[in-house]
Symmetry: C2
Subunit: 155 residues, 2 copies
DNA sequence: CCTGAAATAAGAATTATTCCTATTTAATTA
DNA sequence: TAATTAAATAGGAATAATTCTTATTTCAGG
């Protein structure tokens, strides 16, 4: 499910614009880190981004990865997902959307649903506070993992 | 929103039964740790449970807390929630339900919704794998935090 | 080309969680 | 009840993800 390059370009332009507007420097490191998240829909974690960016910038530090990801989140250019214990994952899709999550291999896929976006929130919820976002997580087992499981059992 | 003691008792009975059935020892530690999660709906983290259990069992170790929580999860007596980075939280409500989450203070509240449980999953999702659970997260700001924010701004 | 503020690299520190192992405990049996 | 023994625990060490500290580098403006 590769992103089309139009979408990637759009994200990169948003990055450039936001940097200029908010007066933060669009450094080489920041550009490469953002590009690496923006070019994929696989919701990578910090370590994965680090490894990929290092291919083209061998001296980049892991700390810069984390600092930059936090900055980008703060500027609204990406979202942080806490789906599993241990590793935070990052999402350059800032449109409201939902996730299918494979609990076996960690696959995360985006989908949208008007029905889910339009969910009526129960009255009790209204009394607890103000809802800012609705996120639906469908957890299960992806096709690849299911096939792998079948093969293992067949032995 | 305190739990009624009937519900707590029901959970404790489930614990006792599961331990006997699956041949794990119902130790003093396990009973106290489970009771501490079962008696509240605030979705505590391991550290919080540790502090509370220690009041009555001062020698309990943090490792036992973690080991026991994992065991209880494995036996289906509680669920693990990864809502924020850093700390895992635990939920003795094993019925399907959804959550309102305050992103400021970490408040988590349960609610149920037939509409949400009945959500149709898009076709594309069906092709990705098999969905085992549906979880809706409503993120926002709770009333207490909003009031606190207003007071701070008023100064 | 300077200058100063912002950003980075590298490694230390912190935090949550898991691992190791000597000791204790609970269930079973005599 | 006492002895047996596998399971469980306590306490401290280890690990993994993330954040902090600080000396050095970079970049924008003058
Ligand atoms: Mn996404
Ligand atoms: Mn819950
Ligand atoms: Zn999978
Ligand atoms: Zn709050």
């Amino acid at each position: 499910m590769p992103l089309n390059s139009g979408q990637i370009d759009k994200r990169i332009r948003a990055f450039t614009k936001i940097c200029r507007q908010s007066g933060v420097r669009a450094t080489h490191q920041r550009r490469e880190i953002f590009r690496e998240v923006a070019r994929t829909d696989e919701h990578p974690d910090a370590e994965t981004i680090y490894k990929r960016v290092r291919k083209r910038m061998p001296t980049v530090s892991l700390d810069t990865i984390y600092r930059t990801l936090s900055l980008l989140e703060e500027k609204g250019l990406l979202k942080r997902l806490e789906l599993f214990s241990g590793r935070t994952r990052f999402d350059a899709n800032t449109q409201p959307h939902h996730h299918f999550i494979c609990t076996q291999c960690g696959l995360v896929r985006d989908f949208t649903s008007e029905q889910m976006d339009a969910l009526a929130r129960p009255n009790e919820v209204r009394s607890w506070g103000e809802v800012r976002s609705v996120n639906v997580q469908l957890r299960g087992i992806c096709s690849a993992c299911r096939a792998k499981g079948r093969r293992a059992r067949a032995k």
